[in-house]
Subunit: 337 residues, 2 copies
């Protein structure tokens, strides 16, 4: 395998032969509704707890991804998954249902691309032919765990973000039909001292910038090599900050090239989502649901998904710690890419 | 890379060129005291919180591992780490201090071998020359998070285990002097319905058995191919159960070959540790501290470390869920192995 300093090159070009997304009502009311495999009309999904609902999202996304790939579960060798819950219980319980050898990962909302990077690494290295990557989040589990239960009806400042209720999964294979994974850049932690859990976009923006610049340094590429570069969930506050930081650092981005999954998944002017979407499910449902379809249609040839994560816990916040940010980037090409 | 169904073969034989362990007072009072790089005389390690103390353990273990390997931090390309804390904050904050590209992983107490497996995979695939793997746990952070704050002085049943205060880190390299990593078997989740968080050994034993059998199936090996096979932290209740299950399944283990890190790290007859040790730090300090030294001295030629994890959260337990178990196994050889 060729390599850059923090970039993995996948010279065998692992293929995403199937992907699927399952979302909740707010995402189904958003601009990308048509791209999701299943939209649940209710947040509880007829489950007894929000946590069971979140787990169901991931189990369904995994099942649909296998169906879309037309691959029997028995052929899949590993499941790489993670989520925002304490001890990533949604992924672990989904892994129990799947019955596959399981690697649990955690990078907060960057988990979507961390899991896809590791899945691609396993396939590219020849250690597996089929690896499933997946992640999920649920608005009510995340709010309850990180801030307040939604049942309290507490108010949030406009810098806050709205955790996506959704799961995305992709089946990575050594060969087959679908978009290919070209390389992945693994991020460092960047922490500029932001301590406000209602402003995670600002906490994560510098990490996104660091990973994007590392990606360009490692690969010798520039923004013009991509049809689209999307951050995971910087949303209305963090994304302009990242844009400005990149400009200051001599990497100007074209607005038509530089987007953010947190701004794409909702109509931020119409829907009550504060600054936009967040959560592991945010970049997962936008990437596996929307962007892969645009690659398949040939509208995009090569994209870079820069999933961003805020590595806080309620306890670290209560103890006065700042919020470490991280971002992992994956370059994905359309069939002709 | 050659492969079995759930086993990764590392044909380039990545080398653990340096390792280190840092522990607390109870581990320093145990039978392996001489094998640790640093023993803290107090549980708080002069930090303001238990969480800061836990983080310090991992930061120190990482620094010592680099010193022992005589490698500058700048040469290390990735840090793979995880721990038991919500949102693995100990590892993430240690990764912030280290300043390395970071992959957060979570497999509860199996994290020690999950992180070492991924580090070996990265080196074997040629995507890095130096990868640091590390994990940690602290008795007072784990008790507070999973059961009760130790300050309450609540009593525990004899089936309970005592979370190890300690961190272990290993630097995996493409070449150099030290024990080599031969293969890794990634476990499936096994859940036989145990719901008692004071009996995690029993919850994890079937997962250990499943991974050991998968390892033998994938590799064509048997117990006699190893000088030592250790489970991570099954301790006094879980380890005999695993032994019995293996016997029932036609894989009889010799008592001198089959051990458990949770039974090795303490003198369970003298120290007040209930059934024995547990926690991410348990298999980490025993492996990186004690077992690698025995391999280096030639007392052992080839070992299999089967780190076991109980993938519960306090919330999943409170919601009546059973405890999913998992185990990941890594085969390590001495220089001549």
């Amino acid at each position: 395998m060729l390599r850059g300093k923090q970039t993995w090159w996948f010279e065998k070009r692992p293929v995403i032969i199937g992907a699927a997304t399952v979302v909740g009502p707010d995402e189904g009311d958003g601009p990308l509704a048509e791209d999701f495999d299943l939209v649940h009309p209710e947040l509880d999904m007829q489950q007894k707890s929000w946590e069971k609902a979140e787990r169901l999202l991931l189990e369904q996304a995994a099942d649909f991804a296998l169906q879309n790939a037309r691959i029997d579960k028995e052929m899949v060798q590993f499941f790489v998954g993670g989520d925002l819950m304490n001890q990533i219980i949604s992924s672990s319980f989904a892994a129990r249902s799947l019955g596959l050898p399981y690697l649990g990962v955690f990078g907060a909302c960057s988990t979507s691309m961390e899991s896809l990077s590791i899945a691609a690494m396993l396939v590219n290295s020849g250690s597996a032919d089929y690896v499933l990557a997946g992640t999920c989040s649920h608005n009510c589990t995340a709010e309850k765990q990180f801030r307040y239960p939604t049942e309290y009806g507490s108010q949030k400042p406009p810098t806050a973000q709205y955790t996506v209720t959704g799961a995305g999964a992709g089946l990575v294979a050594a060969s087959g039909d679908g978009p290919t994974i070209e390389c992945a850049t693994i991020g460092k932690i960047v922490d500029l001292g932001i301590t406000d859990p209602f402003n995670m976009g600002a906490a994560m923006a510098p990490a996104a910038v660091d990973t994007i610049q590392a990606h360009f340094n490692d690969t010798g590429r520039s923004p013009s090599d991509y049809d689209l570069i999307v951050t995971g969930d910087l949303a209305g506050v963090g994304h302009p900050l990242a844009n400005e930081l990149l400009l200051q650092n001599g990497v100007p981005m074209n607005d038509t090239v530089f987007g953010d999954c947190g701004l794409m998944v909702y109509d931020v002017n119409r829907q009550k989502v504060q600054a936009g979407g967040s959560g592991c499910g945010c970049s997962a449902v936008v990437t596996y649901g929307h962007l892969l379809k645009r690659l398949a249609r040939g509208e995009l040839k090569r994209i870079l998904v820069v999933a961003t994560g805020a590595l806080l816990s309620p306890l670290s916040f209560q103890q006065g710690e700042s919020i470490p940010g991280i971002a992992h980037a994956v370059a994905i090409c359309g069939k002709e890419g």
